[in-house]
């Protein structure tokens, strides 16, 4: 496949190489669950797999040295996540408290360690 973006136009390229390869997984998910009910054991397992994959996404974002967050030192990311999670627990499972604390910690950490 040697086509380039200029030959195709950005919108066609978006549909062929962005939308379709992305949407195929949603479609397969839709096809697979035909006739399964919410309480079936397969769905319980699939849900556990989806939850674990989400944790994998999180671990990748926090630990990866080359990903989207590479401008923030890894130690700062880990520290801020731990602090944010502690605040979440202390504030009786408040998502806002956790996110705000984590954000404050990551800004402070980036300021201190990246300079």
């Amino acid at each position: 496949m040697s086509a380039t973006l200029h030959e195709l136009g950005p919108v066609l390229a978006l549909i062929l190489f962005g939308f379709l390869p992305n949407e195929v997984w949603r479609l397969v998910g839709l096809m697979l669950v035909r006739g399964l009910d919410e309480k079936s054991q397969i769905i319980v397992w699939v849900r556990a797999v989806a939850t674990a994959m989400l944790a994998g996404v999180l671990a990748q974002l926090i630990l990866s040295t080359s990903g989207a967050l590479s401008s923030i030192p890894v130690e700062v990311r880990i520290g801020a996540a731990v602090l944010g999670f502690a605040a979440f627990l202390i504030a009786r499972r408040s998502v806002f408290a956790g996110v705000l604390t984590g954000e404050a910690a990551v800004m402070l950490g980036t300021y201190v360690f990246a300079n």
Binding site: A3, L14, F17, F19, W25, V46, R47, S71, G102
Partner: protein
């Protein structure tokens, strides 16, 4: 509840749809998405895509990691490679869609009624949907989920538009804070949702197994993480259920 499926009158559906939008605005993900897409919109501008291309990519793709790949590689990499990277980044949608759609299915719901909920499913919508849908009657769930999805997608569209227009380089400190929104929201919302053993265990195991799998450099990290950690959590859940049934 009546045995035969009852159609919701249109005004009830519209009200439930609005409830979904309100739930979206109340969700921490609404603000996370604005922040996240602010950075993505600015990037799209920098690379030379149009304002409407950026908006269309959010409507059609509706997955931040895939959009980051698209915006940053579509001009430079071979298109086949772009498609491969996008598709590998989106495997998570398969189990997510398969786990949430059964909550919305009931007699009388056609497959095509599930197409919009299917397309709207993304991490943010899925996490909030898994928490909120069980709290309401089955016949309301599709309209509510559509409202939730449209509301959260609006946040992404707004963020992307603002970022595109601002475009000027964000100060590094602010950029770091915006990028960190996504992992923080995933962590806190998942922790809040993990009220059962299997959810909490799957999430905790995924955090441990993820980096271990990544270190093996076998590829398809997320798929293996999900299969290994999810299956172990499911096995523990089944064992516990069996023991409970055995003792009672």
């Amino acid at each position: 509840m009546s045995a035969e499926p009852t159609e919701q009158p249109p005004h009830v559906s519209a009200q439930v749809f609005l409830d979904g939008i309100v739930a979206a605005v109340r969700s921490v993900f609404f603000y996370v998405l604005v922040g996240n897409y602010l950075g993505l919109g600015a990037l799209a501008h920098e690379v030379g895509f149009s304002f409407w291309w950026m908006a269309l990519s959010t409507l059609l793709v509706w997955a931040a990691p895939a959009q980051v790949i698209l915006v940053s590689t579509l001009h430079t990499a071979a298109l086949f490679e772009v498609a491969l990277a996008v598709t590998l980044s989106s495997v998570r949608f398969l189990p997510m869609v398969a786990a949430i759609l059964p909550m919305m299915r009931r007699p009388g719901v056609r497959q095509r009624d599930l197409l919009l909920p299917m397309h709207l499913t993304a991490i943010s919508v899925w996490v909030e949907g898994m928490r909120l849908l069980p709290l309401m009657p089955a016949e309301r769930r599709i309209a509510f989920y559509n409202g939730l999805g449209v509301g959260l997608m609006s946040a992404a569209l707004i963020g992307g538009a603002i970022g595109f227009v601002l475009a000027a380089k964000l100060p590094p400190l602010l950029a770091a804070a915006l990028l960190f929104f996504t992992p923080m929201a995933i962590l806190m919302s998942s922790a809040r949702n993990s009220r059962t053993l299997i959810d909490g265990l799957a999430f905790a195991l995924g955090l441990v197994v993820g980096p271990v799998v990544a270190a093996q450099k076998i590829g398809l990290d997320l798929m293996w993480t999900g299969l290994i950690a999810g299956t172990v959590a499911y096995a523990v859940h089944r064992l516990r259920e069996a023991r409970r049934r055995g003792t009672s």
